[in-house]
Amino acid sequence: MTALELKGIDKSFGGLRVTRQVDLAVEVGERRLIIGPNGAGKTTLFNLIAGELRPDRGSIALFGADITRLPSRRRAHLGLARTYQIITLFPKDTLLHNVMLALLGLSRRRWNPWARFDHDDALLQQARACLAEIGLDHLSERPLAQTSYGERRRVEIAMALAQKPRLLLLDEPFAGLSLDERHDVQRLLGAIPRTTTVVMIEHDMDVALDFAERVSVMHFGEVVVDGTRGEVVAHPRTREIYLGP
């Protein structure tokens, strides 16, 4: 079964075409890497998949269901989670509160105007378990603003994983991390179960290629090369894009 299928996705901002006839098929459990120079349209493609942008043409299917016109929030309920290139969390709140908000997002309890949120034992337990999985349970009561950049990146991934997604979109998860922090995130990503399909945008080839099974290369809004790691690395078009003609 295909986890994610994009067919003929076009998106323009005014006169600028940012994606052109993008076709992409990601199998269930696959680890897919999307690479390309700055401005290739990778993050726009993520925004289209996540529903933050609507394509001008084409269709998007998630596990066989057409989600092209579905609002972003509904896609989360269908099992799609994402992280952002620039960390987008709640800095004034504690790590525990951040993860609890992620868990609450898919729960009916999010509409409850009575019950105390910070006394919800079930959510508390789950959130603590999530933080324990990424090794940050000892910082659970610390405001996010008082943690390092690498810790925040791990919290962001933990929030996405807390929702037990079927498809996880990671937008440059290694960007701005120190060597040690990269290893931490690498370990975290390596532990993601195969029930979760992962699509990742990344510029750091050393870590990204280790992670990916298949790679798609984007250039000027098009997927120009698509294949296994070896095929893509050896492809002359990849070399041309990265090293010049």
Partner: protein, 321 residues
């Protein structure tokens, strides 16, 4: 410590008619409580949702006018109050549907326009609202046979409603929906990605806020036994916004402190200071300069800083011993 402070505050409030002396001052405290309810209602969308409204006095006015018009039409107090609240919630829904099409400056401008439309209706629809002359109520209600005609009796009724408002706000702010609302204030994009319906959460917040603005409007009408367009003018919306921001948006006690400050300046300081508006403006400037987060959170910050400085100062002495 917190519980003791709350208990003392409650005892202080309950005994107001005993220690403030005279109906005039009891009435001023009633005014503070009514404005505090109004400010607490606005705090839901300003403090928790991060949406600045300049039309809240319009909703306040719909409730006040709604009750007044129904009473004039011959309805009883219960029907008038109920009808006014239903009308306010309906108007809040219309306000929200129109204003939530946008956020930021757009939200401010739409709420400002809607507030001005209501003010214009109150001012010009003379056959319904009696225009600039306003509508007068013959008497205050007497729930369970208890007359609210006297200043202390009306004060206690207002205090009960104020405590109910405070309890409702506390429960809401700590609830899952309250946490979600604050999330939409801080990171709406992330909240959407997490599966939250940001629009619906904000819409519900507008209804909740509108309801309590309506409650304040009804109390205001019964307190004065009169309502005129002046009470729902832009200046009223701006004033309640100042109460929220100066006291501390997004806190429970901030809007209450803001209401106390504004009413005290208007009703008490104005008797001694000719240019009390200037003094109030100067106080706001000082708050913005030294406590940009508002009077209550700013005071808490300064007290904590002073306390920790005191402790730091004591430590060397202990070490010396």
């Amino acid at each position: 410590m917190k519980r003791v402070a709350l208990l003392l505050a409650l005892v202080g409030l309950v005994t107001v008619p005993v220690w403030v002396g005279g109906s005039y001052y009891v009435n001023i405290v009633s005014q503070i409580l009514i404005d505090a309810i109004f400010a607490l209602s606005l705090n839901v969308i300003v403090g928790y949702a991060g949406l600045i409204s300049l039309g809240q006095a319009g909703l306040f006015g719909i409730a006040a006018y709604g009750a007044a018009i129904l009473l004039v039409a011959g309805a009883g107090h219960f029907v008038a109050i109920l009808g006014a609240l239903v009308a306010t919630i309906a108007a809040s829904a219309v306000f929200a549907v129109l204003a939530l099409r946008t956020t930021g400056i757009g939200f401010i401008m739409i709420t400002l326009a809607l507030g001005q439309i209501l003010w214009g209706l109150a001012y010009r629809w003379i056959s319904l609202t009696n225009g600039d002359n306003g509508i007068t109520a013959a008497a205050r209600p007497a729930p369970f046979g208890l007359s609210l005609a006297s200043a202390p009796a009306f004060y206690y009724a207002t205090l009960l409603v104020f405590l109910a408002t405070l309890a409702a706000m506390t429960v809401f702010a700590r609830s899952a929906l309250g946490a979600a609302l604050k999330g939409t204030r801080d990171q709406p994009r992330r909240m959407t990605a997490l599966g939250y319906d940001v629009w619906m959460i904000r819409f519900l917040a507008c209804l909740f806020s509108g309801f309590w603005s309506g409650v304040a409007g009804i109390l205001f009408f019964y307190y004065n036994q009169f309502i005129s367009p002046h009470a729902i003018a832009l200046s009223a919306s701006a004033e309640v916004l100042l109460m929220v921001i100066s006291g501390g948006a997004g806190t429970l006690m901030g809007p209450v402190a803001g209401a106390a400050l504004v009413v005290a300046m208007k009703s008490i300081a104005s008797a001694y200071i000719e240019r009390w508006n200037f003094a109030l403006g100067a106080i706001f400037v000082l708050i913005v300069l030294f406590m940009p987060e508002g009077l209550v959170p700013g005071s808490v910050r300064l007290i904590r800083r002073g306390w920790s400085a005191l402790q730091r100062g004591e430590r060397p002495l202990e070490e010396r011993r």
